[in-house]
Symmetry: C2
Subunit: 499 residues, 2 copies
């Protein structure tokens, strides 16, 4: 087998990073033009890709190694000025493959290890090996979800996976529609678009002036993408006018709170409003028998956003918009561009999903998710979710009565979000008031900056309403353990002690 | 070096695809739970990833091998029923790593080789090895373009690359703004949104009712995404009312035609309209000194869509929206979500681009493009584009007077699009008229169906206006040569001869 022969050739030199040097191919003389499809390009192509994989697997190994830093922080101007051997500027002339490999190594070196067990900064964390393999394959296949013709397997995987997700939501027989979109904000935008189309289909051709002035309802803590969608789609964000759409958030960004879907659904049914559930963050809990009750009533929604790239640990990006009514996504978005979607093909063209989307070509986001589902089974996702929630419970119990901590909201968190202030010793006896508020507001940013400079861990902070900056801890990383939670708390105290 | 030791261990068994079997790790007993971050997960992880890479590199090698088929066509119901050993259904229980590898292999087996030298079906074709390596790295880094905090290197790469693109467009000092979006349709939608914001900023908060009834102008052959954006954003597609926005297409989807940008810009200046240039397909020609005159006047546009994933051979997805006026993208889309974009960070937060986008997290589409630019240099892109256009000229000259061919439009193609009817011998003496039209309409679909069944090549067809189905040949694949063009023509004649 040729591949293996290459590997063998590579190995005998002992050090993969200097392969080309020890080899008659002379990497420093080689350029992209020497790779496939160039004549005799096969050997350098395989060697180049193996060197890249060497860099990547080293990175992966270190990502899970707690003695490695989460990041090696530099300011924008530092990176722009150029680090030794790493220059971001583009030039007119080609670089050698040797330099390209250096560029790859340095890009990872100055980046952030989002899969590190101590990276807690975002809702999307972790590095799932199966999901990663799925992404490598997806890139290699290099196609899009435009038609069955050019993505037969991926189109069917998407269809089956969306059906399974609708079954889990609880729609009868998993009927309905949906697609994977470039993130929760776009999924939410889809929900607003189809709601408008459902009640005022003439808007599609006549514009917003064909409808009365419409209004969208959403809670104060809901994600800003609902407001963005409203602005983009021409609703504005004024109060008043005719109600059209209600968004219930299942897992808010900061608090991880769940709106009472059943209560909201009652109102929507009474007044004939579109009910959307934004489960971008909380949707994953549907996979857990222990936690899915938090989304009770989700089966009454007209549409649901659910991002497997958040709580389910799927690599970015992977967000689904799920719609209960079949055909409406097509009705809303199709422009019947016959020059793109030919009706006279030899296969069943209902599998050509391109015209349902607002995108034309749509990135293949399904494969990694499908592959992870195969590898973990439904039970594997359940275990992942239960474990993350247990960890956040551990954190909550650890700090709720610990000296120097104040919880931002009372009671156990519903999701993995644990929101808290750390009060440095110097402030613990300060009376409540503006001065204390002002000082406290600066504590989290200062600790965070020191964390990033030292590169040991990362956790988010933000203000919310009249609440000054507080830490928001979230757990979606399957690599995190109790020891990492302990480490985070120790680190906050170490860095914040003298503030 | 440990990696190399693994490689070596792998090699000595001779056949990488049965590694685990010959190895005490016993792949068939291993599951995703045994991989990192599991205890002792490092060795199985590295072995698993190398097996995946083995599958991928084999696929890549075959992609460039003309004796390999472009596709192995199956109908949806066949794939859904399950091919031997390949079952698309998701189950509750986990599958072994051995099965996961089989799933990977089969996913590729039943897909379409979009990098094959004889795949001409889409505007995006080819498999660039450097771009692919860039995608593998991007997946491994698994972050998004939300903030500098979590994607420092990628954020700066995007900024520098967009600036370079604006320089090439011809905006003074490359000033302006922009971002990479999930495809040309979304880039075009951005252009409509910011144009509306520019002239009627109150729409953002008050909705479309705050503006007069607005209208967008675009040519009949422009991409349907402009109409989709109009519908989505609440414009409708009615005639009349106040003109706001003019789209000039640089490279239409079917004909590859270029609108006269300077003439349109004159009108836009006179009437104070927003000029958008949709260069999703034709933007790449800006890299070529020989062909950039076709976009003459592009520097007068207010915004430009330009998809490196089309004519520049960058892997999917990679589309830029470029905006001449600085700050307007931010003004249009920002919702100032302080809980997501904290102003009190230790670094210069103008690098946090998240709030400029309608997405929240934004996929990292920049790295592969940046890396390709490094590897090829500006001159490398120029060569690629000139070569593709030469090839299409070769095709045009080959068939324009060849018996059995009729060109759909007269004169040399402006882009790589060559549109033609193939007339089977049995129809060559038929008089013009409805019967001939009806028969001709069925020729391209029949040939295409046979092509797909035999898997030898793929080229698109479509009707346009009152023109019956014709072939649209496009060339963006750097692997294609004159012999592949000859092959396509031979294949059309072989399959269509007896129709």
């Amino acid at each position: 087998m040729r591949f293996c022969l290459y590997l063998h050739k590579l190995c005998i030199f002992g050090n993969t990073s200097s392969l080309f040097k020890n080899n008659k191919l002379k990497k420093y003389l080689l350029h992209t033009f020497d790779l496939l499809p160039a004549k005799n390009g096969e050997e350098p192509t395989m060697q180049f890709l193996l060197e890249v994989v060497d860099i990547l697997t080293n990175y992966i190994r270190k990502t899970f190694d707690r003695s490695t830093k989460v990041l090696d922080f530099h300011h924008p101007h530092q990176l722009l000025e150029g680090m030794e051997g790493f220059n971001l500027e583009l030039s007119d002339q080609p670089e050698s493959l040797e330099q390209i490999l250096v560029d790859c190594r340095d890009t990872l070196k100055y980046g952030v290890r989002t899969g590190h067990p101590r990276f807690f900064n975002q809702l999307s964390t972790g590095l799932d090996i199966i999901g990663l393999a799925g992404e490598w394959l997806t890139s290699t296949a290099n196609t899009n979800m435009f038609t069955y013709e050019i993505a037969p397997v991926f189109v069917l995987m998407e269809q089956l996976t969306l059906k399974k997700m609708r079954e889990i939501i609880g729609w009868p027989n998993g009927e309905g529609d949906g697609l994977f979109s470039p993130g929760g904000a776009i999924s939410n935008m889809y929900s607003v678009m189809i709601a408008r189309y459902k009640y005022f289909p003439e808007v599609k051709t006549k514009g917003m002036s064909a409808a009365p002035r419409l209004v969208l309802f959403t809670s104060e803590h809901s994600h800003y993408s609902i407001t963005k969608a409203g602005a983009a789609l021409g609703f504005g964000k004024e109060n008043g006018y005719v109600p059209l759409f209600v968004n219930a958030t299942a897992g808010t960004t900061v608090y991880g709170a769940f709106d009472p879907i059943n209560d909201i659904a009652d109102i929507c049914e009474k007044y004939n409003l579109w009910l959307h559930v934004d489960g971008a963050w909380g949707g994953g809990l549907l996979m857990s028998r222990r936690h899915r009750h938090k989304l009770s009533g989700v089966e009454r929604a007209n549409s649901v956003t659910w991002n497997p790239h958040k709580m389910m640990g799927v690599p970015l990006q992977c967000s689904a918009i799920l719609v209960r009514e079949k055909g409406i996504l097509q009705g809303c978005n199709s422009m019947c561009a016959g020059y793109l979607f030919q009706p006279d093909k030899q296969y069943d063209v209902t599998y050509d999903t391109g015209d349902k989307a607002i995108q034309c070509g749509r990135h293949v986001d399904i494969f990694k998710f499908w592959l992870m589902w195969k590898a973990k089974g439904t039970v594997g996702f359940e275990q992942h979710i239960d474990r993350c929630l247990e960890l956040s419970e551990y954190l909550y119990n650890k700090i709720k009565n610990r000296p120097g901590y104040e919880m931002v909201f009372q009671g156990e968190p519903q999701h993995t979000n644990v929101c808290f202030w750390y009060i440095p010793p110097s402030m613990r006896n300060m009376p409540d008031g503006e001065e204390r508020r002002e000082r406290l507001h600066k504590v989290a940013p200062k600790i965070k900056a020191m964390m990033m400079e030292s590169g040991t861990t990362m956790v988010g902070y933000q203000p919310q309403g009249d609440k000054v900056n507080f830490f928001r801890m979230v757990i979606s990383n399957h690599a995190a353990t109790r020891s990492d939670i302990d480490f985070l708390i120790d680190e906050i105290e170490r860095l914040g002690h003298d503030l």
